[in-house]
């Protein structure tokens, strides 16, 4: 049953590390976008669209981590084997 405890830990740490990097990346992207709008408010529409695409791309990294965490927690492919081994 130690396996499942480690699964929880792995999922938690994975999500934490994933969102850490994603947060930094999105912060940098928004910083540049805000600077761009402050210098040239006329281009705000174009900047908003480009920023949205960029943010979506960066965010998908965190989403991949989330999906992997969900697989580890709820759809772990090794669950049956581990339960079988533990029953022995």
């Amino acid at each position: 049953m130690e396996f499942f405890a480690w699964c929880m830990i792995a999922a938690g740490f994975g999500m934490a590390i994933g969102s850490f990097g994603t947060g930094l990346g999105q912060g940098l992207a928004i910083k540049s976008a805000v600077e761009g709008v402050a210098r040239n408010p006329g281009a705000s529409g174009k900047i908003l669209t480009t920023m949205m695409i960029g943010l979506a791309m960066i965010e998908s990294l965190a989403i991949y981590v989330f999906v992997v965490c969900m697989i580890i927690l709820f759809a772990n492919p090794f669950t049956a084997q581990v339960v079988e081994l533990a029953a022995k």
Binding site: A56, E59, V67, F74
Partner: protein, 224 residues
């Protein structure tokens, strides 16, 4: 990790059918959209009012977005893009109604949508450029073409994966967060998360349609 009570699932059990909840709710969204389109265009007037006015604003907004991102050539793909936008928006937003499950919180629905985009980009590319569409994959230098070809193929295959997983992760994650908050403190605490859900639903619709438009526009333009 879904809503404790799903109204269409309950109906399905009464009728002894065996369909996934994403299938029944996809049908539900389709019926809603068809009825909406029918009701809005039943009596088209010169000076619109009520529902027709609302739908004109929505459709006009999508049309402007296509004009901005794809140029005049993109007008032909308006029906595809607009139905993506409307379908995803409505199916994201029904998550906020109790007893309704968003079909986009299931990977199968999103994979279907993303594979449609993937297939359409290449069909449009071949239709527009003929056989020279392959130049899109070759890169600028002919000597490096075999190398670029592999990289481009991987890049193109990653598109449906990222499109479907992004939408799935956002909607499913929001659903799970909502359920966890609901289990912790059922009173008023989930409300801010539901407000964020409206935001997430709109932004993800925007992102999906925008990326679909950019992929199609990429297939339309000349090879570099």
């Amino acid at each position: 990790m879904i809503h404790p009570f799903l109204i269409l699932q309950w109906l399905e059990e009464k009728l002894h059918l065996h369909l996934g909840e994403h299938v029944t709710y996809t049908w539900f969204v389709m019926i809603v959209l068809i009825l909406l389109a029918f009701a809005a265009s039943r009596a088209v007037k010169e000076v619109p009012s009520g529902l027709q006015n609302f739908m004109e604003v929505v459709v006009g907004g999508v049309e402007n977005l296509i004009e901005e991102t794809m140029g005049p050539k993109g007008k032909a793909y308006f029906p595809l893009i607009a139905s993506f936008a409307l379908f995803i928006l409505v199916s994201n937003l029904i998550a906020l109604i109790p007893g309704f499950y968003p079909p986009t919180a299931n990977l199968n629905t999103n994979a279907a949508l993303a594979l449609t985009v993937f297939a359409m980009t290449h069909i449009i590319g071949f239709k527009e450029h003929g056989f020279s569409y392959l130049k899109h994959f070759m890169g600028p230098i002919l000597v490096l073409a075999p190398l670029m070809f592999i990289i481009e193929i991987i890049g193109h295959l990653a598109r449906p994966l990222s499109l479907s997983l992004r939408l799935f992760g956002n909607m499913y994650g929001h659903e799970i967060v909502l359920m966890i908050f609901f289990a912790l403190v059922p009173f008023l605490l989930p409300v801010p998360m539901m407000l964020m859900g409206v935001l997430v639903a709109c932004i993800q619709t925007f992102v999906f349609t925008l990326l679909a438009m950019i992929y199609i526009a990429g297939a339309l333009e000349e090879a570099h």
